[in-house]
């Protein structure tokens, strides 16, 4: 191991005055790109990014996360934040300012995902040509040193001619589904053998699949919509909106309970979809049986009580005739509250009923309490009145009737055009990972040389991911040894 250090004297003409700073940072666009490239293909960077993402995820499981959609409502968000103060004390504001209560939409999270994606793409682009070369034009001859240091290696001397030894070795390898390539170099024969040479592309597939999944998530969040609490009172048509042009009607809802312990065993809603007034689809949906129409998926999620309300004006014309889902619970949990609006009259009406299983001193069974507000008022109701089923009450020159109790079904209505990308990516991910680990690329080399009394065979192999290769390698070597020693064994 000799080292030579070459020094070349600079020609006198090029000796310009140089100070120390010139040796420091040099800025050239290519230099910066080059550095960035090396930063992104560095596994250290990759590791740091993956672990940083893991840390954010961990924070996301440990800290309460704001419910989706809450941030668009500053008032509700502030209330929600206040409810955390007893738990996190003075940290609440700081954690909130850092975006840790909505970590998966925070700048940290998005930034790391973008960097990680860049890194994954760079790594794959960097690695793919090498893998391609390895699969299509592998190195077929290895030096002595390789055989001396290979993770799996063996030397065999046999009385057979080199060509006979080669034939035997090839036969043993082919029986194990290896492909073999030979190369002759004078008297020496180089043999290369590999199996599952496309296996390593599993890493490329796995890496790109992640990018696919992210594209799917991006498409979904930018072009799709999701209404997590779409409430439809039975018998009332509700517009789906979001550009779908669909109207939904829940014809019925049934909840079935287990007779032994009263746990719910089945929820089912009969759903009908209309477009331009014409029925376009109908299905009974259950918890694990959503309905799909035109890219919109409708899931059964929850249910609750509703009040069928009718409002007529002084002339007896019907202004409102719908079921009102009593969607919210009161703070003391013993009442249910629903709301509807009469926009032409500038009125908002709250319908308050007693939650099932509760009793209330004022609101008796078969009654609802109505609170009517003028829109934009300071929060004092125009009127508060308890009404009995079927008996009209006159408030603000309108007749309000609580027609009957009903149920509403709580649905999730969503359209996610990114889903095909996500499932495609997920499939590729599983495929890629399985390809890497369960179809491990096996590579072996042999060097066969003539000896006065026969031939000397060196065999060496690289092993990664692969539990079975080691014993298989030993078997192979023994097999060849036996076969070659066979008839002329001493």
């Amino acid at each position: 191991m000799s080292q030579t250090v070459r020094t070349t004297a600079l020609p006198a003409a090029s000796r310009e005055p140089v100070d120390d700073l010139d040796g420091g940072l040099t800025i050239s666009p290519w230099g910066i790109l080059d550095r960035l490239w090396h930063l992104f293909i560095s596994m250290r960077t990759g590791l740091i990014l993956i672990l940083a993402l893991a840390v954010l995820g961990l924070i996301g499981t440990l800290l309460v996360q704001a419910p989706a959609g809450l941030q668009s409502d500053p008032g509700a968000y502030a209330t929600w934040l206040d409810s955390l103060r007893p738990k996190y004390g003075g940290w609440t504001g700081i954690l909130n300012a850092l975006g840790l209560f909505s970590i998966f939409t925070s700048i940290w999270f998005k930034g790391i995902v973008v960097l990680l994606t860049t890194s994954i793409l760079a790594c794959s682009a960097n690695r793919a040509p090498y893998l391609w070369k390895q699969a299509t034009r592998p190195r077929t001859n290895m030096s002595e040193t390789f055989f001396a240091h290979a993770p799996l290696s063996a030397s065999v001397t046999a009385p057979a001619e080199p060509d006979a030894a080669l034939a035997e070795l090839q036969a043993a390898l082919r029986a194990r589904h290896f492909r073999t390539i030979t190369e002759r170099d004078g008297d020496a024969i180089h043999l290369y053998a590999d199996r599952f040479r496309w296996g390593p592309f599993g890493t490329v597939i796995a890496h790109l699949s992640l990018v696919f999944i992210l594209i799917g998530a991006l498409v979904g969040s930018s072009l799709g919509f999701r209404i997590p609490d779409f409430m439809a009172a039975i018998g009332t048509k509700v517009e789906v909106g979001n550009g779908t042009g669909l109207t939904l009607e829940a014809r019925s809802f049934t909840d079935t309970y287990n007779t032994e312990n009263g746990a719910p065993s089945d929820y089912a809603s009969d759903i009908v979809l209309y477009r331009d007034g014409a029925q376009v689809a109908a299905q009974t949906i259950r918890v694990n049986q959503p309905m799909q129409y035109d890219g919109v998926t409708i899931y059964q999620s929850f249910y609750g009580p509703a009040a069928a309300m009718q409002v007529k004006d002084a002339n007896g014309a019907v202004l409102f005739d719908e079921g009102v889902p009593l969607a919210w619970g009161s703070t003391d949990k013993n009442k249910r509250v629903g709301r509807f609006a009469l926009p032409d009259q500038g009125l908002t009406v709250f319908v308050v009923g007693v939650a099932s299983g509760e009793v209330d001193a004022q609101i008796k069974p078969g009654q609802m309490q109505l609170e009517v507000y003028r829109e934009g008022s300071d929060g004092t109701p125009l009127a508060t009145q308890i009404v009995s089923q079927g008996q009209p009450a006159r408030i603000a020159d309108l007749d309000f009737t609580f027609v009957r109790e009903r149920q509403f079904t709580g649905l999730i209505v969503a359209r996610d055009p990114g889903v095909p990308f996500v499932w495609g990516g997920a499939l590729l991910l599983v495929l890629g990972v399985c390809l890497v680990f369960f179809f491990p690329n096996r590579r072996a080399w042999a060097l066969i040389r003539r000896r006065p009394d026969g031939s000397a065979i060196e065999v060496g192999a690289i092993v990664r991911h692969d539990v079975g290769f080691e014993s298989d390698f030993r078997n192979l070597v023994n097999e060849v040894k036996l076969a070659l020693a066979g008839p002329s064994a001493s």
């Binding site: 596994m43 250290r44 990759g46 590791l47 993956i50 672990l51 993402l53 893991a54 995820g57 961990l58 996301g60 499981t61 996360q65 989706a68 998966f104 998530a217 999701r226 997590p228 287990n258 032994e260 312990n261 746990a263 719910p264 065993s265 089945d266 929820y267 259950r286 918890v287 694990n288 959503p290 998926t297 899931y299 999620s301 999730i412 969503a414 996610d416 889903v419 996500v422 499932w423 997920a426 499939l427 991910l429 599983v430 990972v433 399985c434 680990f437 369960f438 991911h465 539990v467």
Partner: protein
């Protein structure tokens, strides 16, 4: 029936553990003694006495292996009976999960014992299995009917069954990582060589990682069918993603020279921590996965 084989399983795991522990202790004791004798009386005799002393305890360890296989059989029987009785895969509440978890640990440990013959690993892997079984005895075993969201039998069964394999391999990787970390760099007598432990961990993760990937994908499919969204950052989902990222980092770390060895072993410890966190997580963070059967409301 299920209960009987469950109890038999617990006893067998315990017994196997005792066998391994005694075998290990006596081998260590014998080694120390011969080492001391060797130091005093000349090296020649030492080799011979090791073989004579080891023979007894090593056959005790062989019994340990046998009993561990028996334990696996008992737990398998217990899970099978349970499946027949409740009419769906035994993966629907914490009691069933815990037994299945123990099954996974035991099965994967025995697989690796079969491959590598490093029974010292059992000293760490078996207590994990035992702890899971004992934990199972402390929680109600009643088989409540499934809540609607869980009534997708095939997906549920495959999702959890695949998870069990992943958890089992991660336990083995954890056991090897612990043994790696408690040794000085050159290794310690009586314990498997660090290089071998490093390899065992790696091989375990190589099996576990694809399985965990599948668990998460199947979970997403299921969530899409049942909750209308393939991913909703539910704490259990997030925790499994964190686990996946840690093992992903581990796999990549091994490509980088400087991370081999104890740094990657620490990643395995963290990964197993994350696995347990994912597993027990629903007990304290609620969310959509709160089907543990422990909250009776």
């Amino acid at each position: 029936m299920s209960e009987y084989s469950f109890v038999a399983g617990i006893l067998a795991v315990g017994l196997a553990l005792i066998c391994y522990a005694i075998a290990f202790a006596s081998v260590r004791f014998a080694r120390t003694r011969t080492a001391m004798a060797g130091a005093r009386g000349g090296a020649g005799a030492a080799g011979g006495s090791v073989t004579t002393v080891t023979r007894g305890p090593s056959s005790l360890a062989t019994y340990g292996t046998l009993i561990a296989w028996l334990a696996l059989a008992f737990i398998t029987a217990s899970l099978t009976f349970r499946t027949i009785v409740v009419g769906h895969g035994p993966f629907a509440n914490m009691y069933e999960f815990s037994i299945a978890f123990a099954w996974g640990v035991l099965a994967m440990y025995l697989y690796f014992e079969h491959r590598y013959h490093q029974r010292v690993l059992g000293l760490i892997a078996l207590p994990i299995a035992l702890a899971m079984l004992i934990y199972a005895t402390t929680i109600p075993s009643t088989a409540d009917p499934l809540v609607p969201a869980l009534q997708n039998n095939l997906l549920l069964t495959v999702h959890v069954a695949v998870a069990i394999v992943a958890y089992g391999t991660f336990s083995v990787a954890f056991a090897a990582a612990v043994l790696y970390l408690i040794q000085p760099a050159g290794g310690r007598r009586g314990l498997p060589k660090p290089v071998l432990l490093d390899e065992i961990s790696y091989r375990a993760v190589v099996i576990g990682f694809p399985f965990l990937t599948l668990v998460i994908v199947l979970g997403a499919v299921w969530a899409d069918v049942a909750w209308g969204s393939y991913w909703s950052w539910d704490p259990k989902e997030t925790a499994s993603l964190v686990t996946w990222l840690i093992y992903g980092a581990y796999l990549h770390a091994r490509v980088v020279r400087g991370w081999r060895g104890s740094r990657s072993a620490w990643l395995l410890i963290a990964g197993f921590g994350a696995t347990l966190f994912t597993y027990f997580g629903n007990l304290f963070f609620g969310g959509l996965h709160s089907y543990s059967g422990l909250n009776d409301n």
